[in-house]
């Protein structure tokens, strides 16, 4: 469900941090440095990176390609390789049997078992293609606001981690208290009253 979809889900963030004169260049460099790199030939099970909004499979952040009107528009791509535990177990058991037959001890140590499991995972992850997931992002830097086009918890966590790593800004999800306390323009006395609130009782 991306920006162009007829129905979208959006998580809104406050971007915590100040911009400076070289901000635009820093954003471009960050997007290029942490742009998505394919993993089909690698044994890792997951990889994340930034990609272009209008071409998810060929990231290009040169020029003003990620700027639309007054906002930055780009995407987060998360490619995952998923393996059924049953498949892993099948290959693991097969490899264990093979190693035991070769060994004259009749047993395998814990570290040998771990090594076998790691080898099995590496081999299997090399053999299967990764499934791409793409989530669009609209970043209004003037208002320190960011819209992430998903409510998925793990995707949000990936975004928060990569965003901080790339741009050195922290993303704070706009949740009810944060919104009321810091984004509603309340005075000090009003903020004190807000902090003292407790749930209303509607049942008596």
């Amino acid at each position: 469900m991306g920006l162009l979809s007829p129905s979208v889900s959006i998580t809104r963030y406050h971007v915590d941090g100040k911009t400076n004169n070289s901000f635009l260049e820093a954003v471009r460099e960050g997007l290029i440095k942490y742009s998505f790199k394919e993993i089909d030939e690698e044994s890792s099970d997951k990889i994340t990176g930034w990609t272009s909004f209008n071409d998810h499979f060929n990231p290009d952040f040169n020029g003003s390609s990620f700027i639309i009107d007054t906002v930055f528009v780009f995407s987060l791509r998360i490619d995952k390789k998923s393996l059924s535990p049953k498949i892993i177990n099948k290959f693991y058991q097969r490899e264990m049997t093979r190693r035991l037959e070769k060994s004259d001890r009749g047993y395998l140590t814990t570290s040998e078992k771990k090594q076998i499991k790691d080898n099995v995972l590496d081999t299997l992850y090399l053999r299967i293609p990764a499934t791409p997931n793409v989530y669009d992002i609209v970043w209004n830097f003037e208002k320190s606001l960011l819209w992430f086009f998903s409510n998925n918890k793990s995707a949000r966590e990936e975004l928060e981690i990569l965003f901080q790593k790339t741009f050195n800004y922290r993303l704070v999800e706009i949740f009810p208290f944060f919104k009321a306390d810091l984004l509603s323009g309340l005075q000090a006395g009003q903020r004190d009253k807000l902090s003292g609130l407790s749930p209303s009782i509607f049942t008596e």
């Binding site: 819209w147 009810p176 919104k179 309340l186 009003q190 509607f202």
Partner: protein, 172 residues
């Protein structure tokens, strides 16, 4: 800066009460006006999720459907359930926006905006995106304004009168 995790959980009720307040106001527009403009209206849509805490467990009540009867939702409210998610239909002039808000984090799901035309060539994408962003922003500003209005009421002495009226409405 406050502890985010702590305040997220401790004040989670603010978002749920906000949804209840919106529901109450939209059903009692004669008494509580959300908008000054007569061409604007916020209606309850086709889905409500409520949650009731029973000792250490949670009971979840989902009411879904275009012609859904909200009677069961009212019964749940009377029994102490809170509004976790609410679907809305916002009408302005001859346009409609549909969306669901989650009380806990004010996230938007299933947000559908009025048609903004079609993309015929690659050159149309930028204009299409600008139109979409404008339309999403319009609904965010609307909800933000209503939330600010609610927060000002919530910290005022007037809130106890509103709670009284909400109780009356629930038991009507």
């Amino acid at each position: 800066m406050f502890d985010i995790s702590l305040s997220y959980n401790r004040y989670g009720f603010l978002g749920c009460e906000f949804l209840l307040w919106l529901w109450f106001c939209s059903n009692n527009s004669g008494l509580y006006k959300l908008f000054d403009n007569k061409n604007e209206a916020l209606e309850i849509g086709n889905k409500i999720i409520l949650e009731k805490k029973n000792n250490s467990s949670f009971e979840k009540i989902t009411i879904k459907g275009e012609e859904a009867d909200l009677e069961e939702a009212m019964i749940s409210l009377k029994k102490g359930a809170i509004v976790k998610e609410l679907n809305f239909l916002y009408k302005k002039e001859n346009k409609e926006w549909r969306f669901t808000i989650t009380g806990e984090n004010l996230c938007f799901t299933n947000l559908k905006i009025p048609d903004v035309g079609f993309i015929e060539t690659k050159k149309d994408i930028e204009g299409f995106v600008v139109e979409k962003i404008y339309s999403y922003n319009l609904i965010f500003c609307l909800i933000d304004d209503l939330y600010n209005k609610y927060i000002l009421l919530r910290i005022s002495d007037e809130w106890k009168h509103i709670v009284f009226d909400i109780k009356k409405w629930m038991n009507y």
